[in-house]
Symmetry: C2
Subunit: 365 residues, 2 copies
């Protein structure tokens, strides 16, 4: 595998929209007991359901630590490929490659620096040495060359691309002191333009209320197609989420994308607050440096955290009255895609959702 000493923009590679055609979907396998309750077993069932759902639309490859290899093979359907990729936790979106593609259909990976969402001071756990190698390992298995940025911290969940020159991010995350305190907003924007090959970056202010990733954009807002976004929403003005979503809406409605189009916003209502139960708290190892799980605390549940698959959408459900309306809304917005819901409470308990645990590899030619 070749490390490329250039940038995607210079080489004519761009980050496609997630709704463009995929070659495969990459995931990792959950197991760490200070993040996933009951030794990761319920989460493993949930991840397996996600893998199974996505595999109806495109090939799925799951990376797994050596000690869980046999178990993962046994829990996943035959059509899912299981490969060994050591990891500290299972967020392929964030530690995996951001793939870029040129007009000839050649695909390359971008290896951002990963520091577990904030490094020693703000991060979710220590160490993250294995996560930091995940990107390269994926690229080696996929047979793709790679751009490497040893000095720029970013996670895949903190960026969206419309595939036509526009990126979507949040200030809360990208300007957080745990990422790149040595760079100002203009410098960070320049990095995104260079490595995603976009002309315009739309900066939302904040992500979902209490999101542990410092407000990753992928939990609050995503492109539905060029010129259209889905925004996590609530009509409850007493919910702290309201102010955040309203701020996003106002900003998006005042913006245009890289092509000069106004942005159409589809509101996707969040479920009722998902609160950690006593049993859930009791199932998680308590460990210094890891984020504690406390009964009654609210999780950052949002339907926006879904995955586009070829011809499909796999989205989280929460056993909430909002599930059916959310499914209906998605089917309305995406009439050409089969929308599949997966019960994802076990995933949000770990701090993210279906989009956070997946990473698309664009179709090559």
């Amino acid at each position: 595998m070749k490390l490329i000493d250039s940038t995607p923009r210079k080489d004519g590679y761009r980050m496609p929209g997630e709704y463009e055609l995929h070659e495969a979907c990459w995931m990792l396998w959950p197991q760490r007991p200070d993040v996933w309750r009951f030794g990761g077993k319920p989460a493993q069932y949930a991840f397996a359901e996600v893998a199974k759902a996505i595999s109806r639309f495109e090939p799925v490859i799951v990376g797994v630590n050596g000690d869980q290899y046999e178990n993962a093979c046994n829990m996943l359907p035959d059509c899912v490929r299981v490969v060994e990729i050591s990891n500290n936790d299972s967020w392929m979106r964030d530690c995996g490659p951001t793939f870029v593609k040129n007009d000839r259909g050649d695909v390359r990976g971008v290896d951002w620096r990963f520091n577990a969402w904030g490094g020693l001071e703000y991060g979710a756990y220590f160490p993250w040495d294995k996560d930091a190698q995940v990107c390269r390992k994926v690229c080696e298995i996929a047979g793709k060359d790679m751009y490497k940025l040893p000095d720029f911290v970013l996670e895949g969940g903190s960026i969206h691309s419309d595939g036509e020159g526009t990126a979507l991010v949040t200030e809360e995350c990208l300007l957080h002191p745990g990422r790149n305190p040595h760079l100002n907003k203009a410098q960070i924007e320049e990095k995104l333009k260079e490595y995603l090959n976009v002309e315009k970056v739309i900066w939302l202010k904040r992500g979902i209320y209490l999101d542990e990733t410092n407000g990753h954009v992928d939990n609050i807002c995503c492109f539905a197609r060029p010129g259209e976004v889905l925004l996590a929403w609530t009509d409850d003005e007493s919910d702290p989420q309201y102010e955040i979503s309203a701020e996003c809406l106002a900003l998006l409605e005042s913006e245009t994308d890289a092509k000069g189009r106004p942005i159409k916003v589809h509101k996707l209502h969040v479920p009722r607050p998902v609160l950690i139960t006593r049993e859930e708290e009791a199932g998680v190892d308590v460990k210094a440096g890891s984020i504690p799980r406390v009964e009654g605390e609210r999780l950052a549940a949002s339907y926006v955290n879904f995955y586009f698959a070829n011809g499909g959408i796999v989205m989280p459900l929460f056993g909430d009255p909002g599930d059916e309306p959310a499914l209906a809304k998605m089917r309305e917005i995406f009439p050409d895609r089969e929308v599949v819901g997966v019960y994802a409470r076990e995933i949000i308990l770990g701090g993210g959702n279906i989009h956070c645990i997946t990473q698309q590899q664009p179709k090559g030619l």
Copy 2:
């Protein structure tokens, strides 16, 4: 990946000759300090030389334990793919898949049971749990379905196939009590016929003198092409190797292959005895259950332990006066192939050679 509940013979798959076209060559990365001196560092350089030599002819993929991943990436050339495959030691020939292929060009793996060359009583080390998963991991990365034999112990180095219905093995290895004591010779032969899809098995008596694999055939004799073999040889009647090789020669000259052809034998003289030096002994960790390395002991050095690559041959050299004649002989026998020598003393110090650390994946269609 699918485990196939059938046999290659029933499905029309056969083990190709190694001289048939390859898709890629698989290797593992050496590191265990009770096998490889100085923490594996000299062996890593030697393995890297082998990978580099083979990569001139066909793609090479090296599997590596997680803790050596970064180092292996840095020591291997860019064109070699590095993937994580946990292993107890680095003998891809023996724990990796035996690939079989049908007439349409579909390729599958055969996963023999691996017990570290003899199990708890006779084996080279304990445990071998990671080695036992190598075959499946290779098949998952290669995207190949697999036959699995949980009840039949075999290593890839103990079999050769001419691709036209004939297999070559040794009694010393296949009838050793550390492999399949519950099966007699006829039953073992039946397994080989079923899983390699051959009609005839030629049983040599013994392998190279003091070979630690209980006389793997791949160190003493291999097919050069259908109807022709290379046999490790010595003219020194006082060398214990003489009697062994002479016995093989007599047997081969009295045999025909599956197609009824007599077998032409090319003699390939072994180098002068390769003896462990004091410094070499001192560089290896001493550990109960692992094979000790003792100054003055003879290693099983043989030029037959080479690898066929697409259009090439990569063969071991020992810094011996026999190196040049062996190279010349090989060039004479294989006028259409480029014969490349790699200095391999560090590999034989671990107990095997270039053929033992490689495994060909046949070209698919």
